[in-house]
Amino acid sequence: MASVDLVDVRKAYGDHEVIHGVSISISDGQFVALVGPSGCGKSTLLRMIAGLEPITAGEIRIDSKVVNDLEPKDRDIAMVFQNYALYPHKNVADNMGFALQMRRVPKPQIAERVKRAAEILGLVPYLGRYPRQLSGGQRQRVAMGRAIVRDPKVFLFDEPLSNLDAKLRVQMRAEIKELHQRLKTTTVYVTHDQVEAMTMADKIVVLHDGVVEQIGSPLELYDRPANLFVAGFIGSPAMNMIQGIIRPGATPTFEAEDGTQLPLSGAPSNSDGRKAIYGFRPEHLTLGGPVKTEIAVIEPTGSETQVVARLAGQKIVGVFRERISARPGEMLAVAPNLSSVHLFDATSGQRLQ
């Protein structure tokens, strides 16, 4: 177990820089998710931690020791790949024991540790099988088993669940989280799925175009997104965003482009007439209120009702616990929950309050 620190890490291919100075500090035993859309550099970053990709500038420290020039084998990390990368010519036990074998651990000890890992993962009946004889979920477990027999300083996961079907993914998600709670090994987990990141991680790093947009706990990111990108990326259905102008005063309001007035609990200082974005999450709408919307689609799911409506010439989504009997085309009066309204600057996209 160890801490991992990235200090102003950069990666360039020729003149083309793809990672623009990323600094992350991961404390001992933490589960950190690197999340972002495809091409944001999250896998590259993980491979740089692993040592599979050289870094152009900056410093990577594992357990306070700079590992920039260390070979992957000397970094004491274990990695789980998206396609599992199981050795097809070795059976499950040999796959899991290979790293120990490379480190010249005595055979009986290898067998013992492989057996223990197999017990944790429920792989004991499959130890003699070859990867091609296993199902996707079992292969996934073998890949994790290969990582945990090592008892490394850091686990690195590179989108490990994206090759599984939806049901198995949810199940493995819980298993990985449980495994982490049991082993308490520092973990860096790359995913493009924000739900995976939210549910599993202690800390989320949102990456976009090779830049860190925000670092924080899942709920921090959800409740106080630092900018428009994080606000739009975290949460499903996504946050509603309306362009307009801030009107402070006795009763501060937000005036959308078509003149629709939206309530504000308070306006940031010096914000009179400032162009901004008014954001609120679908579940932070309550029925009955000053804001009139025109219903476009109603989707009841039983536990809740999702409403797609028009507000200020824009489609917004609302999620209500109540059942709604209105029809498309009718007006629905709603009120945004004032304490959960987010304001972002229209040009920089940064959070205003």
Binding site: P72, I77, F81, P88, M102, R150
Partner: protein
């Protein structure tokens, strides 16, 4: 119930008739393919009259005779005695075996290394990238060997490699190398790079990842490339005829030399040919599945 019975009856009748047609065609094709071997084999038991009159079926058309095999000292009555032709034949056979096996082994070792590099690393050689380098290797096959005849004759003379097995092994390695590189590159391309990366993380160096993880997976392809190389070298005539004379001469040259001034010794030529194709038949029967496995891309997963 009766209706489904009738229907399955119909299906099985159609199934059987289509099977009969397919197997009939396959048997016909097998006969066409195997006929030259049959013809060579039977000719080694014929005398001149049988050859010229085109007799085909032993004991019906002609009476088998050991003459062809006697001429190379391999008939039952000559096998125990000392025989110069047999010694000559065995020497040629040995030359062929050593030259083919060594050249194929050398080509597979060198070719695999080259192919692995081309598959995994990005090279820049002047304006040439990996694709161009691969094509450059393969393009060596376009050049007709005749063009190389004079330069190689001069080169080998200077290096004292004429009429030596080493010289033959070297030139054979060179001629099969492009094919080996091509096969092995395809083979390595089908292996995901994550496997090496997993091996690197697991504690391997680049070389041990190649030797312990990639090579065993690429083994069927290597066996296929090896067999193909052996066959190509075994059949090679031109350079053998050009660069060897007495001590390093190979079987194909000996077979061809049976066309003497007194006409062609069909029987001894056929006996020699039969002995020459025998190793290839053995390879074909026992190692065919490796060839198929190795040449089928994506078989390794």
């Amino acid at each position: 119930m009766g209706r489904t019975g009738a229907r399955t009856g119909g299906i099985s009748a159609r199934y059987f008739s289509s099977r009969i047609v397919i197997y009939g065609l396959l048997i016909l094709w097998a006969i066409i393919c195997l006929f030259p071997i049959y013809w060579t084999f039977t000719t080694s038991f014929k005398v001149a009259v049988n050859v010229t009159q085109g007799h085909l079926i032993p004991w019906v058309d002609f009476t088998p005779d050991w003459r062809g095999w006697r001429s190379i000292g391999l008939s039952p009555d000559t096998i125990g005695e000392t025989s110069t032709p047999r010694e000559e034949f065995l020497k040629r056979f040995e030359n062929s075996i050593i030259a083919s096996l060594c050249a194929a082994a050398l080509a597979v070792v060198i070719g695999s290394c080259a192919a692995y590099g081309l598959s995994r690393f990005n090279y820049k050689f002047g304006p040439m990238r990996n694709k161009d380098i691969s094509f450059f290797f393969l393009s060596q096959l376009i050049l007709p060997p005749v063009v190389l005849a004079m330069p190689f004759l001069v080169l080998y003379k200077e290096l004292a490699l004429l009429d030596t097995r080493i010289g033959l092994i070297l030139i054979y390695t060179l001629t099969v190398l492009p094919i080996v590189i091509w096969i092995m590159r395809d083979q390595f391309d089908t292996i995901p790079t994550e496997l090496e990366q997993a091996a690197l993380v697991d504690g391997c160096s680049a070389w041990s990842a190649f030797l312990r993880i990639i090579l065993p997976i690429a083994l069927p392809g290597m066996v296929a490339a090896f067999i193909l190389s052996v066959i190509l070298c075994w059949n090679e005539y031109f350079f053998a005829a050009l660069l060897t004379s007495t001590s390093a001469k190979t079987l194909p040259v000996m077979v061809a030399s049976q066309t003497g001034s007194q006409g062609i010794n069909w029987w001894s030529m056929a006996a020699l040919s039969t002995a020459a194709i025998l190793p290839l038949i053995v390879i074909g029967i026992f190692l065919e599945r490796y060839i198929v496995k190795g040449l089928t891309a994506g078989s390794v997963k």
